[in-house]
Symmetry: C3
Subunit: 330 residues, 3 copies
Amino acid sequence: MKKRFLAIAIAAGLASPFAANADATVYGKINLSVGTVDEGNFGDDNWQVRSHASRLGVKGSEDLGNGLSATYKLEYGVSPDEGATGQNGGGDGGLSRRNQYVGLKGGFGEIRVGRHDTPLKMSQGKWDQFNDMDGDLGNISGGENRLDNVVAYLNKVGNVKFAVAIVPGEGDGQTTGGDGISDTISAMGAYSSGPLYVALAFDSYDDTTGGIADSEGFEDRTRLTAIYKMGKMQFGFIWEDSGAVTGGEDADGYGLNFAMGMGKNKVKFQYITGEDDADNEATLMSLGYDWGLSKRTTAYVSYNDYEAEDAAGNTGEEATTMVAGMIHKF
Amino acid sequence: MKKRFLAIAIAAGLASPFAANADATVYGKINLSVGTVDEGNFGDDNWQVRSHASRLGVKGSEDLGNGLSATYKLEYGVSPDEGATGQNGGGDGGLSRRNQYVGLKGGFGEIRVGRHDTPLKMSQGKWDQFNDMDGDLGNISGGENRLDNVVAYLNKVGNVKFAVAIVPGEGDGQTTGGDGISDTISAMGAYSSGPLYVALAFDSYDDTTGGIADSEGFEDRTRLTAIYKMGKMQFGFIWEDSGAVTGGEDADGYGLNFAMGMGKNKVKFQYITGEDDADNEATLMSLGYDWGLSKRTTAYVSYNDYEAEDAAGNTGEEATTMVAGMIHKF
Amino acid sequence: MKKRFLAIAIAAGLASPFAANADATVYGKINLSVGTVDEGNFGDDNWQVRSHASRLGVKGSEDLGNGLSATYKLEYGVSPDEGATGQNGGGDGGLSRRNQYVGLKGGFGEIRVGRHDTPLKMSQGKWDQFNDMDGDLGNISGGENRLDNVVAYLNKVGNVKFAVAIVPGEGDGQTTGGDGISDTISAMGAYSSGPLYVALAFDSYDDTTGGIADSEGFEDRTRLTAIYKMGKMQFGFIWEDSGAVTGGEDADGYGLNFAMGMGKNKVKFQYITGEDDADNEATLMSLGYDWGLSKRTTAYVSYNDYEAEDAAGNTGEEATTMVAGMIHKF
């Protein structure tokens, strides 16, 4: 299970027995919280134990020689709080598929085939201070997608990382859906140097009738991400614009955040807002504090407030959550 | 995957590569039997291959310093005989969630959050001689529960182990279900010294309208467990009383068992009976023999007889099973 | 996770910590392709990313002394391209059960209990040049089965391997399905010496009303497999005959294939055809080239053509696929 350890063993002359699976690493992350969820008059108002994108996976790579290597990952979302079928759904495994692919890596970059985050999602890098939590960017942005049937190309040249993914619509070739190899396209480029990280990304959905089209009715999307570090402080800005299919409403939004390290701990704040052309808007504000118990273990508290409002100023969905929890990576 | 081995490797100066997942242990238990199942006139009367609580999990812990450690477990029930959707249900994974949690352990004890056995279930310790088999205590007792959304606290002081778990009902805060943090409470204390183990435990369900309430309509439960060892022999007694919600019938029951080691093998007998206030009763009698093939592998045969009878003496469900099987832990 | 490595460690005096799971090996195989699928006028005509029997498992064995060992395997099919519920079915784990069993091995052979390939399926050995791909034998033959509730016995005597599996129908013992221990029987014998491999196998389904009966309405099946190696070349022949239940049509078919190694690479061709007594027929022709990137990693291209025709010469289902892909074992 430990590639590098086995490398050491191999160096010590114990090589051959390991050939079969020298590099399979079992890894995961469990993030559970206890807290209150108040969704106003029309939803929950209670205490909840919740899992936040907890996961379990197997990954590895193999040196093929000539500068080539094979890579793979099979990552599953897990549900330590409750199963897909709800409370005490002990009879369902509660598993979902996350990034799962096989890849080939070399001087030319890396090609991955399988289920994968879109480059536009990848482009935020480490922007999101409340990733997987109630303050997650994905609760406002429609661009946080992980898609099936992805063919992705990733590379890094100097200070610039880039990635392109194409996704066949897998329609039937006659009447429904796209039938090409690139019915959906997502691309990103990210420049990173010293304290600065800037990324630009695009999504394009040509296949608005098929299963892979953006589920919210958009045909394209642009995202700009910027992160700047100043000593123990980090400032972030993100902007996203989504173009609707005919008859829909375009939408755009932005986010700002700030984090400050305090020894092993961190205080953090994030504000994200979005609005469509019909003046429906939503805002999400989060405040949190992390205790770094180790590189792999973090305890946290956070407060999150979400509010949606239509053009006439009527309040729609709203949610206020206060949670305390722990993240453990293995 | 082997924490302790890696500890050795670390001592030998190979430490750094392992930091990422030094402690993830993949483990499991497969228990399959072949045998006859006769459920009388209204059920099966046939040969069956059956799995008995077979499982696969990942667990580990991390030393956080200062006497603290992070703990976790993700355990799944597996179905090597047939899937959740029945025979040759090859298209479903047949996985179910067992204990799954993240925890923090220190001088104060251990807090675990996730899906977990109730302390009342835990209180039986190693009482059940036919655990997971047809003679399992849970086939008579309603107290053998594993619940979602548990916050549990465990500790040991001298010869006394105790545990308390609270479970939010996660109702909607307005009309249905409990909305507090402790709609269900389960607690236990166990004293263990030399040949003697005695445990007392309670369940309390305040949330009889929500999803977490005892599914059989009880609002509280008390259990007493006693185990006494005398040389190669072990005697066990268990007693349980369940209080029904208004309009229901209270129920109580008890169990007796006996086991005797014979070298690496063991002969065992167990009798469990329960009755409600309306005189409906059920009894379960089991006789078994285990061959200890190693610490991790056991072959067994067992005979089990279950019979339910209503107040008028009419026979209800009945089942007689004779099975031979093997348990392998890894 | 590495049995043999741990064996070495044990020899070096580090034994005791590993006792708990010294032999659990996490392993798997990911096979993903990109290509075109053209099913004629009535199906897909598009580009697709597809997974071909990708899998993830845990297996191991334990030496019990006296020449005995315990064996086990829990293997799952995985879906890195898309889940069981279709495109972007991220909410389902996409897992299916493959061979899953616990076994006992000794001088007498090996007994396995669980879900397992039938001996008839096993009898093809390494015949199929397009195993798991569009050219797979199972796309014409009805004998490629993996069944639940199997009790299998495997042994090897000199140059002859044989296997027998019995499967209880698990009917209810009164009105439906078989209720014996051997409602389905599958058996094989294979002789292997130098360049030659010959195998003969039988299936018998006594239980045509139960869940385990052959899903295509056959009550027995016979298969003959032959493989001959000549230098870098391999020739294969397979023949199968299936007897229908009363009122059905018997069917038979055969397959021929050829492969030639070219350094680490391989060119291969396969033709399989089947016909029933009513003159409905189907043929499957495949041509492929494999690049051996390492023992564990293979890149490939293949062309496959399937065509079904009824007695009157009307074309039924047809499919032409061209794919490029990669297989990585770990």
